[in-house]
């Protein structure tokens, strides 16, 4: 059993099919939900929360069916919506306490946890101010605090860094990392920022046009391309590429003397310098890098649509 099991999930809004036959099991500690605008990320989250009814198929959260066990699912979930969503004329602590009580905490416990959650996300000093007077960053944090206060098993964060300045963003990422490290909460983080997902998640579900474009374990994906090297050369690049291909490297040349290659285990960086010396090619820069989330994302998006067409492999 995964955290979220999707089985042919199809959701229609109006006349448009927004999610089209999603099937897969999400079981990471922190699951990233990626995709371009309109791919169906928020619709998937709303369906998991029971806001939308599946037309066909089903989705299960902790083995609870989204159609039948809506209340049980919501009991397990803390949800931080993408847009502003709060009760402006309540103080921060009253708002978080209210949400905790709705999630099932007794009154005393809810108040205690509300104070703790607000201190935890860094809003302790402003907890008696009305929520409507909070800055954008504070509003993001109070949404996180209310999602955390009742101790959910799954925390769903929809665009958690939306509209945050770099410092606030870093703070948010740090909090998410701490929650992940603590280990009692699974995370589902929807974002269009690859960097956010890259920093916080270990599994990624990439959606495109309402379908699953990729479902990957980010760590495994990175490790599968351990010898991925990017070099910048000056000189006879084509001949140089041909020679290193003869060594058994997979290699792609780009304009400006840039070459990306995957080296087999028996080849070392020193061999490249030897060949370059033979060919009279200067290696100006060499980056040994792991496959980034961006690479995974671009591969998933229609066979790496972002890459130049003249790439030769």
């Amino acid at each position: 059993m995964g955290v979220i099991d999707l089985d042919g999930l199809e959701v229609r809004l109006g006349n448009r099919i927004v999610l089209n036959g999603l099937t897969g099991t999400l079981q990471g500690q922190a699951i990233g939900l990626l995709g371009p605008n309109g791919a169906g990320k928020s619709t998937l989250i709303n369906t998991l929360l029971g806001f939308h009814q599946p037309l066909r198929g089903t989705a299960r959260v902790f083995d609870f069916d989204v159609r039948r066990d809506r209340a049980q699912i919501r009991q397990q979930i803390g949800y931080m919506p993408e847009n502003d969503s709060f009760i402006g004329n309540m103080s921060g602590v009253r708002f978080v306490r209210y949400m905790a009580e709705l999630a099932g905490l007794p009154r005393g416990e809810a108040l205690e946890r509300a104070h703790e959650a607000l201190f935890y996300v860094g809003l302790g000093e402003v907890r008696y101010r009305k929520v409507s007077t909070y800055s954008l960053g504070m509003k993001q944090l109070i949404k996180l605090a209310q999602a955390l206060a009742h101790g959910p098993k799954l925390l769903i964060l929809d665009e958690p860094t939306n509209g945050l300045d770099p410092v606030a963003r870093q703070r948010m990422i740090q909090v998410i990392k701490e929650i992940r490290k603590e280990g009692s909460i699974r995370l589902l983080i929807s974002s269009h920022l690859l960097r956010d997902i890259d920093e916080t998640c270990d599994e990624v579900l990439i959606l495109k046009d309402g379908r699953i474009a990729a479902l990957r374990n980010i760590e495994e994906e990175r490790n599968s391309h351990r010898n991925f090297i990017e070099i910048e050369t000056v000189g006879a690049t084509e001949q140089f590429s041909a020679r290193i291909r003869e060594l058994g490297c997979e290699c792609a040349s780009f304009p400006g003397g840039r070459i990306k290659l995957v080296m087999p285990d028996h080849i070392e960086a020193r061999d490249l310098y030897v060949i370059a010396s033979d060919q009279g090619v200067q290696i100006r820069r060499m980056n040994q890098r792991r496959d980034s989330l961006e690479d995974i994302f671009l591969r998933a998006m229609d066979n790496e649509v972002g890459r130049p067409e003249h790439v030769s492999v």
């Binding site: 809506r70 209340a71 847009n83 209210y98 949400m99 709705l102 201190f119 909460i185």
Partner: protein, 291 residues
């Protein structure tokens, strides 16, 4: 989590039963309704007629006071069905004013702050949300309608020298049923209209307008077409006809008085169905995309 360590800790304590979440929403809605000084002022105002009616009941049942005041003509101090009809009518108008003020506070602010996605992501249904707001409004209105009316009824029964309650039970039941129908209707109407108007003041005006503008139209229809059915658009009038029948008050010889009870109830039911449809369309965690 702890305040001084700033660490997260999972919650391992007890969780309240699912059905009590509606009561949590209702409690916070009730607190929100009564946090306004205007609500308190309206409630205080609603007690003034009750005090006057109470004094009249006292005087009506006090032989010395009667002898001094009425001097042989006791018609002005009769505590009967018509008297309780007047109490009910007065309190019902105050209930309308309270609805117009309180209902938008319960729903409009949730909508203008877009609080529904967060509220409904908890184990509470849309029906539960509306029902909780309904409970808060209905109980607030009860405090100014049937509760004081029945207290006056009980006081009249207590202070009357003859056994009074047994012979006038229809008045007590009529007051209770009539008030409950009215405040239930007002609660649904107030919530439905508030869910469509984000600005509180506009919502307040809309609630009055929706009751009194159709009443005017109904009057025009009645006058032009020379039919009694135009009165069906006049909700306050329909309610007064209903209350008269429930309390057993003799009707005036007026065209609208002959409207059957069933027609009034059907009209109220239709209005409630429309309100529920309005609530169903608006009380959603997300806007539904059409097309």
């Amino acid at each position: 989590m702890s305040v001084y360590k700033h660490n997260y800790r999972a919650y391992t304590g007890e969780v309240t039963p699912l059905w009590t979440r509606v009561l949590v929403l209702a409690r916070y809605a009730f607190a929100e309704a009564w946090s306004s000084k205007i609500t308190v002022a309206l409630f205080t105002l609603s007690l003034l007629p009750i005090i006057v009616f109470l004094i009249v009941i006292y005087l009506a049942n006090n032989p010395i006071a009667r002898a001094l005041i009425v001097k042989g003509n006791s018609a002005g101090l009769e505590v009967d069905a018509r008297y309780f009809f007047q109490i009910l009518q007065t309190q019902s108008m105050i209930a309308l004013a309270i609805t117009a003020w309180v209902a938008p506070r319960l729903i409009s602010s949730d909508l203008s702050d877009n609080a529904l996605p967060i509220l409904l992501s908890h184990p509470i249904s849309r029906f539960g949300y509306v029902f909780a707001k309904f409970i808060a409004l209905f109980s607030s209105l009860s405090a100014v309608t049937w509760v004081p009316c029945l207290l006056l009824f009980a006081y009249q029964g207590y202070s009357s020298p003859q056994p009074w309650i047994g012979g006038n039970l229809q008045i007590g039941v009529g007051v209770f049923v009539g008030a409950v129908i009215w405040i239930a209707f007002l609660s649904i109407l107030g919530l439905a209209l508030s869910s469509w108007v984000k600005w509180r003041i506009v919502a307040t005006g809309t609630i009055f307008a929706v009751l009194f503008v159709p009443a005017g139209i109904g009057g025009i229809v009645t006058a032009i077409l020379r039919t009694k059915w135009g009165f069906l658009l006049n909700v306050p009038f329909m309610m007064s006809v209903l209350w008269r029948r429930l309390l057993g008050v003799q009707s005036f010889s007026f065209a609208g008085e002959s409207i059957p009870i069933s027609a009034i109830l059907v009209m109220l039911a239709l209005a409630c169905v429309l309100c529920i449809a309005m609530l169903n369309a608006r009380i959603r965690a997300r806007e539904v995309v059409r097309g």
